[in-house]
């Protein structure tokens, strides 16, 4: 799968970290960014995350360019323009108008909120990408089962589904080609698309159901779920470095927030900007 997000196979500090604790660290960062409303805090986290990805994750930034550009465009078009135009000041607040024509006006405050939202989203995207590109999906599921009490039956179900995704992608390609030969054009009207969806879905579902039944029988034939407990060949380890990563993440986050608050740039967390 060469989608926007996929595991990048290499060896790095982040690749070696325990997936569950990595997930926890990620949540800390997400929380920190979500609670800040100014544009500076997410910018600092965004740049920091890129550096972490580059040096600790050893994932070439080039591979992040496409998804980042996509979200940047989305943010620029959606958040910035809508907020710049339609920002409603809080009661009693005033706005600085930059440009006005009729009912349309662009305000400084609106622009600031839009930019801040965009950067926030970009920061969150980079966090997620760090996680996805440096975490082997099998290890993630095993770690969730072994360390986070995730039920193993469900976990293995997810693994199987993951294994089958590329197969279904290939099969969809074949079905599309097969239909094209029948003379089915790619539809553009809404009704045509709906019809087309049904045509693709039936063979795909028929094969998916058949395959999943077969896999289920094959798994059961290897005694899957026959005993309440199972052992694990691949042990996902937790080392002091993993805890250090979590502690480091929390510490750095607090530090960044403190410095920004000191500089008077932080908005959110109950901190009110000086006027």
């Amino acid at each position: 799968m060469n989608g926007l997000f996929s595991y990048y196979e290499t060896d790095s500090f982040l690749h070696r970290r325990n997936p569950s604790l990595k997930l926890l660290s990620l949540m800390v960062l997400m929380l920190a960014v979500t609670m800040a409303f100014d544009p500076w805090t997410p910018t600092v986290f965004f740049v920091g995350a890129l550096a972490v990805q580059c040096f600790l994750g050893r994932v070439p930034l080039r591979s992040l360019a496409r998804p980042l550009l996509f979200f940047f465009a989305l943010g620029a078009l959606g958040f910035v323009s809508s907020n710049a135009l339609f920002y409603a000041p809080p009661p009693g607040g005033s706005v600085a108008v930059l440009w006005q024509r009729g009912a349309l006006r662009v305000t400084v405050e609106g622009l600031r909120v839009g930019v801040s939202l965009t950067i926030r989203m970009m920061a969150i995207v980079v966090f997620s990408m760090i996680f996805v590109t440096t975490t082997d999906p099998t290890d993630l599921v095993l770690s969730l089962i072994q360390h986070a009490r995730f039920p193993f039956r469900l976990g293995y179900g997810i693994l199987v589904a993951y294994r089958f995704l590329p197969l279904w992608q290939t099969e969809l390609g074949i079905i599309r080609a097969a239909h094209r030969i029948r003379g089915v054009g790619e539809r553009t009207t809404l009704r045509g698309r709906w019809e087309q969806l049904r045509r693709y879905a039936v063979p795909l579902l028929a094969s998916a159901i058949r395959k999943s039944e077969r896999v289920a029988i094959a798994m059961d034939s290897k005694a899957f779920g026959a005993l309440p407990r199972r052992t694990y060949y691949r042990q996902v380890r937790v080392t002091w470095l993993d805890w250090a990563m979590l502690a480091g993440t929390i510490l750095t986050t607090v530090l960044i927030l403190l410095v920004l608050a000191r500089a008077g740039l932080l908005i959110g967390y109950g901190v009110v900007p000086e006027d």
Binding site: A178, R182, G183
Partner: protein
Amino acid sequence: MDEVHIEARNLSVRYPRATGWALRHLSFTVVRGETLLLLGPSGSGKSTIGLCLAGLIPNSVPARTEGCILLDGRDAADMPVGERTATVGMVFQDPEAQFCMLTVEDEVAFGLENLTVPRQEMDGRIGEALSLVGLKHRRRERVDRLSGGQKQRLALACALAMRPATLFLDEPTSNLDPATRYGFFQLLKALRRRQPELTIIIVEHILDDLIGMVDRVLVLDDGKASSPAEEPARVFDRRGHALDEMGIWLPQVTALARKLRLAGLAVARLPLTVEEAAAALQHLVARRTIERGDDVHRRGTACRVPTTQSSSRPPAISVRDLSFRYGRGPLVLDKASLEVPQGSFYSLVGPNGAGKTTLASHLVGILPPGPGQVRILGDDITELTTAQITDRVGYVFQNPEHQFVELHVEDELAYSLRIRQHSAAEVQAAVQRLLDDFGLASHRRANPFSLSQGQKRRLSVATMLALGQRVLVLDEPTFGQDRNTAHSLMARLCALQQSGVTILAITHDMQLVADYAEQTAVLVEGQICFSGPTPQLFANRALLREASLRPLPLHELARALGIAYQDGTLPMSIRDWYPFFGLERPVEPDASPVSRSAT
């Protein structure tokens, strides 16, 4: 050694919502260390036996059961599931749908983990199982990067790692090419020598490379066994006719000896292997070399079309120096060139992954043409619109379901005519003709997905002829079908060829090639390394080896007996053998009657 390991007593199984019983009062025994072959038409209950044995029925697969199956004297139904699955190791047919992990060693470990084998012990057992199947060096490989044959060997390793007393193999080689199938059975034979205690139960269709290791055969028909399991030669001898009726393939040399005996020759005991056949037939050969007569040259099948007139017309398909790669991947086609004359029955063979489907995809413009040229009936494909291409070429996909676009059989047949705005009367007439020609008239209101495997295949061929296409390309047309359905389909294709349609069939089934294809092209690693009359291909052993095609058992027998035509080529199908034994060639094709299979 004669210790009864498995015993079925009056075993009956019925699936929920099924119309009949899958197994009816079945009783049989299997001795420890024995190899038992299960034969029977599809739906006769072969797989159900495996599911019962492994305790998957009724625990994982809901079904009503009566009677019992005993493992070492203990009722399997009373054994804890874990113990039972550890006793019976299963290998299934579909290499894509029996794994759940991403890497080879994780996959082997999976079963051990479920049995709570301690971690320290797993490492050794994984290594041991993988070296038994010759996959030790691929231990850390991703499962999806293995070839089909390697995946089946991995499935075997997974079962062996659990140290089962019995292996149940359910059509393990039906997705593999001939050489890979041979390799899998060689592996099984080696395993049999190393672990004489291991009981093996196997379901298979193509028996030539397997039958030598089989101790007994149990024939199932409609969930019943009408006689106890016996050694193979006796079963083929006494029940040959019944097996014929059921559409079960005998090993080729056995089938030949049986036909010759029915024609009046004194064949004492039916042979199973080439060596046995050579010994049994040696003294009966009347002439070792004969002239290849004109009818012999055309091989007397239904496909008899004079090829002389075709030379003046442009070829149906002409491919010149075609190269192709997917994205930035390796070259799949490397300057492949192929010319298929109009009105011929052409086959395209080659090992798995050689690029056969990729080449065929270019003939209908599914793939953007790379360097090189493809001409259909004389015109460059890049200058034709998709509609023009599909007017000329019908393409039948390997899985018929992929092509279905409508909810009823008749709409399915009418589809391409309707989108071309043919009149209702025209459509009606064409649909009726196709329904009749392909024996689908009684299913006209059925949903295509609800048809049987053979019917689905016939429907997919019929839809591809609705526009009166002159060229028909088929990808593995007989895949997953029993002998009767396969032969009836081939007979239909022959009839089409007689009406002037050019047929190009991709296939792994070498006997089919020998029986029907006038000409054959061999694709190896993206290049056509042979194209020409089919007998010449089979006469060339070095080429067969290179293309990972197995020589036909009948040809090995011909060599062992010193039988050949004067031009050095070998007799292709069983009928061609009669003159060598001083017999008249039978008029009737040796395939089962076509009419019967339309049901």
